[in-house]
Amino acid sequence: MRVLGLRPLPVFERNAVSFRHQWWVLLSGVAEPIFYLLGMGLGLGGLVGEVELEGQLVSYPVFVAAGLMASSAMNGAIFESTFNFFFKMKEARCFDAMLYTSLRMRDVLVGEVAWSVARGGLYSAMFLVIALGFGTIESWWAVLSLPAAILIAIVFSSLGTYFTTFVRAWADFDLMQLAILPMFMCSTTFFPLSVYPGWAHPIVQATPLYNGVALIRDLHTGLLGWHDVGHVVYLLVMGVVFAWLTIRRMSNLFFA
């Protein structure tokens, strides 16, 4: 553990071990996107038929499955990096205990963020297998949708952790829900960008989830373009910036 890069490992391990008697709670988080796929994709899909994506018609289940895979990465990462992170920080005082060991603040944070990324990645991976079973994957590029989902999870883990450092009480999380739910519903998860009036396009396109959904959708359908490089860069920059901000803020909170 003295090796520099492995220092956050015990933090990750602690989180994994804490779920050993409740692994079914962990795994059942994938139920929600699957029910959405069944309800919206297959149930409502019969009414919707096909939607237009970059000039081509895509069947609705294919369209919505990509959105749901990106959202499951977001939901897993956000849940872990907000509610659970807050509980560990304020109620269980886990971080105070960890900092009494040889761990540094950044080790604790990297371990925590890695764990929430793993949770988001787990849901996306499970969802990808299910989507494959439902036949909503149309291209071999979809292999890359898992790394893309992990990138989304990194963005939302660092965003979620940064937000949580400002949270005073549980009620403050209502604010987060007020941002996450609209983003989940409106980041072209369920309907294409063309539905919005022109002035709303930049607003939707500025959200991190939109970039993730668009990237994964292009990978699932194989309709890739240069704009996908833009999505990747956007997500990378956002992840790095918020991870850096969080480390700075947490160091101030705990050591100032």
Binding site: Y36, G39, M40, L47, F191
Partner: protein, 278 residues
Amino acid sequence: MTATRPHESTSIGRRQPLFRASRWAAMSAVFLHQLRRTRRAWGSSLAAGLASPTLFLFAIGAGLGSQIDDAELASLGVDSYMDYIGPGVLVVTAMQVAATESLWPTMGLLRWGGVYKAVLATPITSAELGVAHVMWLGFRAFVAGASFLLVLALAGAIGSWLGVLIAAVAVLVAWAHAAPLVALTVGLEQENVFPMISRVIIFPLFLFSGAFFPVEDMPSAVGAFAKITPSWHGVELARHLATGDLVQADLFHLGYLVVFCAAGFFLVQRRFRKHLDI
């Protein structure tokens, strides 16, 4: 309760007739206490409660609805998809509010916070407490439902004055779900089954009770199952009330809900006596 002193009348194992003034006084005391206890959170819980159904109404109803062509809408019997889902979203939201409140918050009142332990130290009986608590959850669903009904009316999704009655349907559906879940919660020591109930029971009921698409569009076995859920009966009833085109089947929907609620209240009383009386 005449000759007993208060501490002796905590009514362990005692049964009283349902229609007795002291019972109703006891239940309204619990109800009023809840109203007072939660008064500070009303603003934010109302906003949070309205945000979710309003979002579903506009994102799914108007946004996704724009992708559904007129022929499909005609087969649903509506001009706009938003009008189709509006009343249904209200009903399943009332279901979701009441069902979620039956889990963690109810456990909190019964075990963690000790509020209901204090209530049981008064002359209020366990059965009265159970009924009053479920009634209270129905009231919460009523507030959520009635305020969303206003949103629906402003969005033009309610075509008839009979639509006012949808708020009452929301209460019945809330009771039908809250009662069995509260009956379950009172017997639990730990909350670890709650995430499972919320993910595998409540959320599927939200999506598959016919609010978003007809249950006939699902595989026949799933559709048949959906038709025995009280939430489906509530959704159908609410949709007919919104347009004002009532059919004979609505009487059956109403009867089904009433019977389901009555059975639920009966169950709650039994379980509260069993688990809270010493």
